[in-house]
């Protein structure tokens, strides 16, 4: 905590070294969070870069007391991602393009087996996210996959804790409905079938 306080003070003071440290610590997390909210790795890279620049410009908002600055960065990244993907329709379009691209990856070499597992896991997650509204998607990624508690997520998003809880609850209910729906006879475990894909990856 002392180290975090020191880092916060240096960030607030505009110490470039503190931002380099912040970048080394959390860039990967911001990058992956941005990907889940944009469904595009290149856009995620842009969002990550914009997030840190915005963090620099917003450094006077950092208080000297508090824990990790990761929730603050993830909150900025969430805003930046919104600037890129303004509508659910666009998110679904980008996600569809991502999943279509993944389908063309080679599947014959043993060495790519791990990558394909990774790809299928990501595909299942993105497919699930396309079923949610943006606010639900944001709290799910923050709380479930980035591991923020309700308070940190609320702070990151600038909403009350109760809102985080209710959005998460709605997200769970929506996904549960999808998974609990009886499978159709013709359903195949392919990337464009989110329900079977989620089932398959979860097993």
């Amino acid at each position: 905590m002392v180290m975090e306080s020191s880092l916060r003070a240096r960030v607030r003071a505009g110490d470039p070294g503190a931002f380099a440290e912040l970048f080394d610590q959390h860039a990967r997390s911001v990058y992956n969070h941005a990907f889940r909210l944009t469904a595009d790795w290149a856009t995620a890279e842009d969002v990550m870069a914009a997030t840190y620049l915005q963090a620099w410009r917003s450094r006077d908002r950092v208080t000297e007391d508090g824990g990790s600055l990761r929730p603050w960065l993830l909150g900025i990244a969430t805003n930046e991602a919104r600037n890129h993907i303004r509508s659910n329709r666009r998110y679904r379009r980008v996600a569809a393009a991502l999943l279509a691209g993944d389908r063309t990856q080679p599947d014959h070499a043993d060495e790519v087996a791990g990558r394909l597992d990774d790809t299928r896991r990501i595909a299942a997650a993105i497919e699930a996210l396309t079923r949610l509204r943006r606010p639900e998607r944001e709290v799910l990624t923050l709380c479930l996959w980035e591991g923020l508690d309700y308070e940190a997520a609320a702070q990151a998003l600038g909403v009350p804790v109760g809102t985080v809880r209710s959005r998460l609850s709605r997200a769970r209910a929506r996904l549960r409905t999808l998974v609990d729906a009886p499978p159709r006879a013709s359903r195949q475990p392919v990337l464009d079938d989110p329900v079977s894909l989620v089932r398959e990856v979860s097993q």
Binding site: A27, D46, A49, A50, L53, R61
Partner: protein
């Protein structure tokens, strides 16, 4: 409980895992960030204020109000992620008589597009007294209230015979006449399919997101990219 119970999510939201940035990109982005910080530290008055649309517009209101006794309206709100403004830009230009104040800071082509009443490609045919007759070859974007014909009047000192893309505000609905957004920020020179911002020091830094590394340099993109961003506004 202050965090979700993972067991409640089993089977419905599998963790997607996490990837590293592509090789070399972590270092690249960190270097870019530090370069941007160094640049903003050297020139805080410029770098920290010109991207703040609301403040630039507020400065405009002040200048217009004192100098000409004209009422001017503030511009768009800044994007949600922008921090609260702390200073104003002193050199905001007064609005043309009868026009709407639209001199702002613009970080991206998307922002220019979102603010413009008209985005056109063409070239100046003749110029006199700061008024240019501009021949329109292509309309990339037009707001419903913005009239456009084969030739429009642009209030800017523009050389003739030079292919450009202009991001314009309707400054005089009666004439009608247009003014480039942000002065030369809204002017791009066109060579083939390559588009280059007229000003290096007052230029956007990206299409949809600001890029620290291009700050202070002319921004280069392509016509298809500008068309795409314009189409996204619809």
């Amino acid at each position: 409980m202050s965090a979700p119970d993972p067991s409640e999510w089993t089977g419905i939201a599998p963790h997607p895992g996490a990837r590293d940035l592509p090789p070399g990109r972590h270092e690249l982005h960190r270097d870019r960030l530090l370069a941007a910080i160094a640049q903003e530290t050297r020139t805080p008055g410029v770098a920290r204020t010109w991207r703040r649309p609301a403040l630039a517009a507020a400065a405009l209101v002040l200048v217009a109000g004192v100098g000409a006794g004209l009422a001017a309206t503030a511009g768009d709100d800044p994007p949600a992620a922008l921090p609260a403004p702390v200073a104003s830009r002193p050199a905001a230009r007064p609005a043309p008589p009868g026009g709407t104040a639209k001199i702002q800071g613009y970080g991206t082509v998307r922002h220019l597009t979102a603010t413009a009443d008209l985005v056109v490609r063409g070239e100046a045919q003749s110029a006199a007294d700061g008024r240019v007759v501009y021949r329109v070859a292509e309309v990339l974007y037009r707001a419903s209230h913005a009239p456009v014909s084969a030739k429009i009047t642009v209030l800017a000192p523009e050389a003739t015979g030079r292919a450009t893309v202009l991001y314009l505000a309707l400054s005089d609905p009666l004439t009608p006449a247009y003014t480039p957004l942000g002065g030369d920020v809204g002017i791009f020179d066109v060579t083939g399919d390559t588009v280059t911002s007229r000003s290096a020091t007052r230029s956007v830094t990206g299409l949809r997101a600001e890029h620290a590394t291009t700050a202070g340099r002319a921004f280069v993109t392509t016509l298809p990219e500008l068309r795409q961003v314009a189409a996204e506004r619809g």
